[in-house]
């Protein structure tokens, strides 16, 4: 059984103007890339990747984009959230050379995988892209680990001027590496096309309800459940998901093109 647990917020970190991290006690196993369903009482229940995995603590890092995240954003230490999970498959760190490419809050999803790869002494590069320098977060967290941290901003206010796919094109040369990405789906799709001969893993987002693979809300491709068989899909699977980078289904199940 994997029932809802109520957690008290024990620490809050403001990553930037728009992004916060919320910490709570958690001592069961989580794989990097997995997510929780976060219940914000009276408001909503939403999926959130785990952004920190420590011995007794887990965290989520989120952007204030709507009702639920806004309420979360204004939560204080001691406030309570419900969590269920962890759900999904998580990343497979099955190569020693890994390039992580994150866009926006997708970076939160990558963070535990990056720290894991670092601990395993893998050869890693990190490329992260933002709109502008005010949106920057986790740069220090990653910078502490490695030198190979590449940043892009759309307006050039910090790092490479341009989007993350262009930066990636410049940096990635070694066909032998595994690319792991999380970010806007259009970005991931572009990367997938650019690096179509590479080992590739992308973490997808779809509207989620049950998160346990029965309601069918999050299905992509040939009936793959993002909540269960995903959110991480590899190149072989992505090739068969024709929705990838093209469309999502909304809460009603209607197709909405990106």
């Amino acid at each position: 059984m994997n029932s809802l647990k109520i957690k008290e917020i024990i620490k809050i970190k403001k990553e930037n103007q728009y992004v916060k991290t919320i910490f709570f006690k958690y001592d069961e196993n989580i794989k990097p890339g997995q997510f929780f369903m976060i219940w914000i009482p009276n408001v909503d229940e939403i999926p959130m990747s785990v952004s920190y995995i420590k011995r007794n603590i887990a965290a989520i890092t989120f952007r204030d984009v709507g009702d639920a995240t806004n309420k979360l954003f204004n939560f204080k230490i001691g406030d309570k959230i419900g969590i269920r999970g962890p759900y999904g498959n998580g990343f497979k760190l099955n190569r020693e050379k890994i390039i992580f490419i994150g866009g926006g809050t997708g970076i939160a999803t990558l963070a535990p995988a990056i720290e894991n790869a670092y601990k395993k002494k893998f050869n890693i590069k990190i490329i992260i892209g933002f709109k502008n320098k005010n949106e920057l977060f986790f740069d220090k967290r990653f910078g502490k680990l490695i030198n190979n941290l590449y940043i892009s901003t759309n307006d050039g206010s910090i790092g490479y001027h341009g989007n993350v796919t262009d930066l990636a094109k410049e940096i990635i040369k070694d066909e032998d590496c595994l690319i792991i990405t999380c970010g806007p789906e259009i970005m991931m799709k572009k990367l997938f096309e650019l690096f179509n001969t590479y080992q590739f893993q992308a973490s997808l987002e779809r509207y989620m309800k049950c998160a346990v693979g029965i309601c069918g809300q999050c299905c992509v491709g040939h009936g793959l459940r993002v909540c269960l068989e995903g959110p991480v899909f590899d190149a072989t699977m992505l090739k068969n998901i024709k929705d990838f980078g093209k469309y999502k289904r909304n809460e009603s199940g209607n197709i909405k093109y990106f």
């Binding site: 059984m1 994997n2 029932s3 809802l4 109520i6 369903m37 219940w39 009482p41 009276n42 909503d44 229940e45 939403i46 309570k80 419900g82 269920r84 989620m208 309800k209 049950c210 998160a211 346990v212 693979g213 029965i214 309601c215 069918g216 809300q217 299905c219 491709g221 040939h222 009936g223 459940r225 289904r249 909304n250 809460e251 009603s252 199940g253 209607n254 197709i255």
Partner: protein
Amino acid sequence: MVFGGNLIDISAKIGSIKIKNPTILASGIMDQDAESIKRVFENGAGSIVTKSIGLKPKKGYLNPTFVELEHGILNAMGLPNPGINDFKQEIVKIKKYGIPVIGSIFGSTSKEFIDLALKMQKFGVDALELNMSCPHAKGYGLEIGSDPDLVYNIISNLKNTVKIPIFVKISSNLTDIIKLAKAIEDSKADGIVAINSIKAMKIDLTIRKPILSNKIGGYSGKAIKPIGIRCVYEISENVEIPIIGVGGITNGKDAIEYIMAGASAVQIGTGMYYRGIDIFNKICIEIKDWMENNNYKKLSDLIGVAHI
């Protein structure tokens, strides 16, 4: 193949509908799009019921719409669906794949049911399932399905309008399920599907509130099987039309229990949560194993034997 008389026949018939095995995907479970439905079919389901479809796109309730409980699950999706027009492309695909499909529809008036039914028929579904039992949708579902006269009228009108078989899905949240079943039989419906999930609630002690955004939800899964079995048994004592048993089926023995109670076939929903998407194949194997060990050759011989 017939080797040494070892053939075990688990094909099923619900009125005029014939399916290769008695396991049908229940409405609302991984059946929002054609590709998911195809995947379930490839995992052994004899037939598939679509998500319940209404006239217009419907978002359903806000999350939380799902809670796992100790002995089952609780959901209050709120009948989310893309609306009948958008759903056309899914049905067309499903039929292109050659999958026997039952179109589930819900409406609040006889006219709505007729509009939906005519479209479903045109799109090519093999049969209709009228959802008259959703435990938590206001103005739909159980609110209609608890009034035998209304149910009788809606179905009679439909029977005058559409040609494909009509199954009616009912609830156990009724004072008198037999009365409703008889009204359905009188209305000339082709079968009864029992049961939908049961009205229930989970309150979180720390937050001191019902967890579901809709507060009340539908209870499904293992815990409800004895209630579903009782409903099928009671209905089958009182009507002649075929019954499809649903509620808490997770293995072959559960399916056989429903069949002995009087079901011609069974639907499986929450079971997928407990045993994975290939629960249909698993259950078929388990049914066959059990039949072999107990010297039965035809599953249909077991329909309703618990009444004898």
